[in-house]
């Protein structure tokens, strides 16, 4: 005899108010990334010929450092949400899918932290 009620089985599968959480956060990060990406691409272009000291000074100054950290956080959060959907769509084998999802989430967190740490290291002159 199944002890779980139908509501228990349905919970977390789409209703119960957090069904659009993934979708919504993907949009929020997307909106944040519009100005951040444009700022980063054009800033980087203007520093294309700059020497090491100039680039370091730019990355380490308060506003660029904060924006870079935001860019990294938003980029990796957005990327892992997107990759999750792609994996769920194309990787049908349950075990492989689960492994791929965990790997992507771990890698995204690791790379984001490595990037943020690099920016902080430059900013605080470590």
């Amino acid at each position: 005899m199944a002890l779980r009620t139908p509501i228990k089985i349905a919970r977390g599968l789409g209703s119960a108010k957090d069904g659009v959480h993934h979708w919504w956060i993907q949009r929020v990060t997307a909106v944040a990334l519009i100005p951040l990406t444009i700022w980063f691409a054009f800033s980087l272009a203007t520093y294309a010929g700059a020497d090491y000291a100039t680039v370091r000074a730019w990355i380490g100054s308060p506003l660029p450092a904060v924006l870079l950290i935001l860019l990294i956080a938003m980029t990796f959060h957005h990327a892992q949400l997107g990759l999750q959907v792609v994996i769920e769509d194309y990787v049908t084998a349950k075990g492989v899918q689960l492994a791929a999802l965990i790997l992507v989430k771990f890698l995204a967190a690791l790379l984001a932290l490595v990037g943020i740490f690099a920016v902080l290291r430059i900013a605080f002159g470590g």
């Binding site: 519009i34 272009a45 920016v119």
Partner: protein, 130 residues
């Protein structure tokens, strides 16, 4: 039985994909490519944090012909995903679903992304070479 000249149902090998289908799958492909490309951003940042020699080496790798080719493709993928993403945000708001509109915005996404890519690279070269 006259079955010779009837139109055939869409078949993958002869089916001409509509622009909206191409822009849709390109959004996914560019998204996955950009995710992989984030490795370059992290590589560049960690090199800058590590020291002058490491930064020089990274600049050498990214500034090589192959490096610039990859970065150019990355720039286009980035701007395409951004422009087409804005298209998606409008769809999320329930706007722009008409075939004519969605085709127009599809061409716009492809075109504006190309223009922004070229603009960024002109600035990069004007600023002293990539």
């Amino acid at each position: 039985m006259q079955t010779q000249n009837r139109p055939l149902s869409p078949h993958l090998q002869v089916y001409k994909f509509p622009l909206t289908a191409i822009t849709s799958i390109m959004h996914r492909i560019s998204g996955v490519a950009l995710s992989v490309g984030t490795l370059l951003l992290i590589y560049w940042l960690t090199a800058a944090a590590a020291g002058p020699e490491q930064y020089e080496r990274a600049q050498g790798v990214l500034g090589s012909f192959l490096g610039q080719l990859v970065l150019f493709a990355f720039t286009y993928a980035l701007f395409y995903h951004l422009c087409n993403g804005i298209r998606h945000l409008f769809w999320d708001a329930g706007k722009g679903f008409e075939i004519e509109t969605s085709e127009k915005t599809g061409y716009a996404a492809i075109g504006i992304a190309a223009a922004l890519t070229v603009l960024v690279w002109i600035i990069a070269y004007a600023a002293g070479g990539a």
